[in-house]
């Protein structure tokens, strides 16, 4: 009996005490100049030159920088290189900015650039950048000049090296063994890594040697890992975090009701796609008419309304870049369920049963698509696979002899910083276990040709033809754009967030410019 009474009193006293502590705690945080950012997933590794996963990449922008940068229109502008020339169609010369220092105080020179690029050019490292651009060589010309060579002409070369993998790491320390990029972060960026508690938080402090005058404005950036949206919303509400990146589109409605919060959906050049395996001998999608019909039967607008609250747009190849494909004249790229039904009957595929794979966030999309395909006479059955299982089963042995399973599955593609990259992904070797487009000679030829060209009407014509082929082959169906939901407390921070970004990690690229507002 006494136990219970005492226990109750203790709880009451504790709660009362904590309430008082909480009130004073909140007032202190805001005036310390710390940007506190909530994210859902933890970074999987910190080697800037090899880790291509967006939870890691978003952190890299605090610490590392590249030779060139992207502006708000995704055009290339100077970064660590002040200027550059193209010497011939496979060599570029860069003039480095002087007085740039790493956070340990040492000045960056051409040697650092050479070591950084040599590391990523080495195929043993396995950096993802080699899949995008054929880097071949790097040479020092003098202390502030380097030349970078590529194996074949590549029009989007400059865009390609704005990616985090092309970051400049401290060469001297790396070669001496004093710096190991797989376990430490050391760069020229506005912040320095101070502390990392796995699965809890990252703390970055101001880099005193950063070359941009007056930046960063905040003293610190703290990244908190909060897996559940509800907790994230609560933290935003109490000011424990001042910027949040959320998963759920419905959170936007809730956010609208929280005072002092502004939220938006930032477009990135990613988009959801539906893969239809056209390579496997038993594939139900062997007949291209069936694949094309599936594309015609999908009502993207309905998916956007139901799953994304209407906030995402219909995707086409190279969507959100400077040159999205124009599909208005393409009859295979419209929403036309009647035509879909006809084609399915022509192909004798009424009642065709197949597996439709959803993985994590694409599961609700799968549910809607299942109903839409059911309406035109097909019979998809949903299976939810997890990531590890999915890779093996969907892509198979990455070749036509070892194809992936004959299923339909959701994934996503990205045009990153230039339209060519999205098209290029579909000609990749590792796609040959999934789609016949990857091994298609004409398509590959077009990709290689477009790679070597600079922008202009000829290249646009090539993009147009490649886009037509994508819809003819219909093994990869662009569905909807995939944006980021970002919310911030307007009374706690000022931010600069672009309407479009090139990649999953870039939305805090301008974090050095964010200011923390004092609470009165």
């Amino acid at each position: 009996m006494n136990h219970n009474i005492r226990l109750r009193f203790f709880v009451f006293a504790t709660v009362a005490l904590l309430c008082i502590a909480a009130a004073s705690g909140i007032a202190q945080e805001a005036s310390g100049g710390t940007i506190v950012w909530g994210v859902k997933t933890e970074a999987t590794g910190i080697d800037v030159q090899t880790n291509g996963q967006s939870p890691s990449r978003q952190l890299f922008n605090f610490v590392y920088e590249q030779l060139v940068d992207l502006d708000e229109n995704l055009n290339v502008v100077p970064g660590l290189a002040e200027s550059w020339e193209q010497l011939d169609d496979t060599t570029y010369r860069f003039h480095l900015r002087q007085g740039v220092r790493f956070s340990n105080g040492r000045e960056m020179t051409a040697d650092d650039v050479v070591t950084s690029f040599e590391r990523i050019i080495d195929p043993d490292l396995g950096s993802y950048i080699l899949n995008t651009v054929p880097l071949q060589s790097v040479t020092k010309v003098d202390d502030y000049t380097v030349e970078i060579g590529i194996a074949s002409p590549f029009g989007a070369f400059l865009s390609a090296i704005t990616t985090e993998a092309a970051s400049i790491i401290p060469g001297q320390e790396y070669l001496e063994g004093a710096f190991d990029p797989t376990v430490e972060m050391l760069g020229t960026g506005p912040f320095v890594l101070e502390e990392h508690l796995p699965d809890e938080s990252w703390t970055f402090a101001r880099n005193p040697h950063h070359w941009r005058e007056g930046l960063p404005k905040a003293d610190r950036v703290k990244v908190l890992i909060i897996p559940e949206d509800a907790t994230m919303l609560a933290a935003l509400r109490d000011g424990r975090i001042n910027i949040a990146r959320l998963e759920s589109y419905d959170a936007l409605d809730v956010l609208a009701q929280i005072p002092n919060v502004e939220s938006e959906v930032q477009a990135i050049t990613h988009y959801w796609t539906l893969h239809l395996n056209s390579v496997h001998p038993d594939s139900p999608f062997a007949d291209p008419r069936i694949r094309q019909a599936i594309n015609l039967a999908i009502n993207r607008q309905q998916i956007s309304d139901l799953v994304f609250g209407g906030h995402e747009d219909i995707a086409v190849p190279a969507v959100s870049t400077a040159e999205p494909c124009d599909t208005s004249e393409n009859p295979l790229a419209q929403y036309d369920p009647d035509r879909a039904r006809e084609m399915i009957q022509e192909a004798g595929a009424e009642g065709l049963t197949f597996t439709l794979v959803g993985r994590g966030p694409s599961t609700p999309i799968a549910e809607v698509v299942q109903a839409q395909l059911g309406a035109v006479g097909l019979n998809p059955q949903i299976e939810v696979w997890d990531f590890a299982e999915g890779i093996q089963r969907i892509y198979g042995g990455f070749s036509a002899d070892k194809p992936g399973e004959p299923v339909a599955s959701f994934g996503f593609n990205s045009s990153k910083s230039a339209p060519i990259f999205g098209y290029q992904n579909w000609a990749a070797n590792w796609m040959t276990g999934v789609s016949t487009l990857a091994a298609n000679e004409e398509y590959r030829g077009l990709v290689a040709q477009a790679n070597s060209m600079n922008s202009g009407p000829e290249r646009t014509a090539l993009f147009q033809r490649m886009c037509e082929m994508v819809y003819e082959n219909a093994s990869h169906l662009p569905i909807l754009t995939k944006g980021h939901i970002i919310a911030h407390r307007t009374d706690l921070v000022t931010v600069r967030i672009q309407p479009v970004e090139a990649g999953g990690g870039d939305f805090l690229r301008f974090a050095s410019e964010f200011t923390v507002l004092d609470s009165e």
């Binding site: 999987t44 880790n51 907790t231 919303l233 590890a388 093996q392 990749a428």
Partner: protein
């Protein structure tokens, strides 16, 4: 009974426990290797060339015959080396692969995360004991009243019936929408900031304690009722002992055995339930870490995690057995029951 007899009993139990743990280690090793989707596929993703995947397999000896891999792992584990987490962080589930680079020794990762889980389990068990047992005694002693009897049965059936995630979700909803002083998320270590820590831990602890409270209440009540029906209670009353004396001398002591059993059951529940509470309330604990490792095919972490949990469970049961033997020496003779 004699210390020798007790010692022999304790030795037998210990040997039995070790055998069980060995069995668990073989089981988990076999099971996790049966899961489709290999480690190197997760690590490198589809873009990597076949050669890179091969190299990774060689590096970790993943091509060696299974029994060999098992022995290698077991010997290392016994030597205190739980291996290296192949994946640095486990929390990201879903579309993220993991990078091999920074290899954290598992034992260090466990040690880092264990305090949060231990604190959570401790708090939940404490609540269950401190609230459940007195409730059960009360219910047992007032069992003359039909209402008390009925309602205590109903309440314990309900308490054991609400899934922890339903209750947890409700708490998350109420406490994240309304500012009531307790936080959802926002864990800091106890040593760093006790107030913030308790504020964040109270809710998950309560969520986890409901099942245990109901269980303890029910068991204690049943035990009390049973004891009260025994003839020696009648004798005690006849002797003129006061109710308080009766409760203290006879009831509590005899009701102890079922309560000890049930502590072990509650422990098993907490080991599993902690992971879900950790997920819901963003507590960076050990349970969620191991759970997520399954998605990553991080074999080493899963093996180590299952074994550690099994050790904890077996240890608690062992202690329970030894405790019985002290409370009621007859159990030694009865043997395995």
């Amino acid at each position: 009974m004699g210390y020798l007899g007790y010692l022999r009993f304790a030795m037998e139990r210990l040997a039995s426990a070790i055998l069980t743990l060995l069995g668990v280690s073989i089981l988990v090793f076999t099971a996790i290797h049966l899961i489709p989707g290999s480690y190197e596929a997760v690590m490198l993703g589809p873009q990597a060339p076949e050669a890179a995947r091969e190299r990774l397999r060689e590096k970790y000896g993943l091509d060696d015959p299974l029994p060999q891999q098992y022995m290698r792992w077991l010997l290392a584990f016994l030597g205190g080396d739980m291996g290296i987490a192949l994946c640095r962080s486990q929390q990201s589930i879903g579309q993220q692969a993991c990078e091999n680079a920074d290899q954290a020794p598992i034992i260090a990762e466990f040690a880092r995360r264990a305090p949060a889980t231990i604190q959570l389990a401790f708090m939940a068990a404490a609540i269950a004991n401190l609230v459940g047992i007195p409730l059960g005694i009360l219910a047992g002693l007032s069992a003359g009243s039909r209402t008390v009897r009925g309602s205590s049965r109903a309440i314990s059936a309900l308490g054991m019936g609400i899934p922890s995630f339903v209750l947890g979700t409700l708490f998350v909803y109420v406490f994240s929408v309304h500012d009531l002083g307790l936080t959802v998320g926002g864990y800091v270590p106890l040593s760093e900031d006790p107030e913030a820590n308790l504020r964040a831990m109270v809710l998950p602890a309560i969520t986890l304690s409901i099942f245990g409270t109901a269980l303890f209440a029910r068991t204690t009540r049943d035990a009390v009722l049973t004891v009260l029906a025994e003839p020696f209670i009648m004798a005690a009353v006849a002797r003129g002992e006061s109710p308080r004396q009766i409760v203290r001398r006879h009831v509590l002591r005899n009701a102890a055995i079922p309560v000890v059993t049930v502590s072990a059951v509650n422990m098993g529940y907490l080991l599993g339930g902690a992971a879900i509470a950790e997920l819901l309330f963003s507590v960076p604990g050990f349970g969620w870490y191991v759970l997520a490792a399954i998605h990553k095919r991080d074999y080493a972490v899963v093996q180590a995690g299952v074994l550690v949990a099994a050790v904890a469970f077996v240890a608690v049961n062992l202690l329970a057995d030894l405790a019985y033997a002290i409370i009621d020496p007859r159990t030694i003779r009865r043997g395995r029951g």
